[in-house]
């Protein structure tokens, strides 16, 4: 990943799994114990959590209706030309 200490790399590799609730109690405890003493990993974990929450809050624009209609018309033309 980078030139991080092995312990940090192991923790950072599992941050997504931690957020998705995919880890065992033991794995969670190990990660928490590491982040209590590693300011860098704690900072990255907090940043990622805040970043992902922010992206979620921004919402997802749907495909505009005009584009949907345009694509359907283009597909119909193409299918009939084939």
């Amino acid at each position: 990943m980078t030139d991080l200490p092995y312990e940090c790399e192991a923790v950072l590799n599992k941050l997504d799994a931690l957020r998705r609730g995919e880890l065992t109690h033991d794995e969670i405890s190990t990660m928490q114990a590491h982040m209590e003493v590693c300011q860098r990993c704690l900072s990255i974990e907090r940043y990622e959590r805040a970043f992902l929450a922010r992206l979620k809050a921004m919402g997802s624009p749907p495909c505009p209706e005009a584009l949907r209609t345009r694509v359907s018309a283009a597909l119909a033309r193409s299918a009939h030309e084939a």
Partner: protein, 184 residues
């Protein structure tokens, strides 16, 4: 016959138009270009429909086509790739604030977040868009980009660190959080 094929294609592909549109928007950063890219992708996909194996992942297949269309036809029109320090990992700020990121994300504007994502080099932007915006599973991203899952993870890690450094600098420059005096 043509109608049956088109109907099958539309049943599989049209439900993914929202995803394709959002990915196209983030790859091109221009709504009009995104519209054209989505239409090109769908026409290309219809022509290639015979090669799609029923039961496999239609969304990943469509994203692959969209990305290939983008690379061959659209990327060349964009700016030169941004140079990034690949190993730059921001050091945590020592400001006494226990949660500076949580605080600056509540004040930073949407446009700056989008701008930071748009400025990422393509290989990093696409994993952030597919993972963090579209929330596709790693395996599906790996399939769409034709790279190993481990590469998806490592690119995502680096992309988030680049964004972290960029957004923190923005937050410092605008006074949202105190400056740490670091370049990271």
């Amino acid at each position: 016959m043509a109608d049956t094929v088109a109907a099958q294609f539309e049943a599989e592909a049209l439900p993914h138009l929202d995803t394709l549109y959002r990915v196209a928007l983030r790859l091109t950063n221009e709504p009009a270009a995104a519209d054209d890219l989505v239409q090109d992708t769908m026409l290309r996909a219809l022509k290639a429909w015979k090669s799609f194996q029923t039961g496999s992942n239609a969304r990943a297949w469509l994203v692959t086509i969209l990305r290939n269309q983008f690379i061959s036809g659209w990327r060349s029109r964009k700016r030169a790739p941004t140079q990034v320090d690949m190993d730059a990992i921001p050091e945590p700020p020592d400001t006494g604030d226990p949660d500076p990121e949580g605080r600056f994300f509540s004040e930073i504007i949407d446009e700056e977040v989008i701008r930071a994502i748009n400025d990422l080099p393509d290989e990093f932007r696409e994993v952030v868009v597919l993972s963090d915006l579209e929330e596709l599973p790693y395996a599906e991203i790996a399939m769409a980009l034709d790279i190993p899952v481990g590469t998806v993870k490592s690119r995502l890690f680096r992309a988030r660190r680049i964004l972290q450094g960029r957004l923190r600098r923005y937050a410092e420059e605008t006074g949202i959080i105190p400056s740490t005096g670091e370049d990271a």
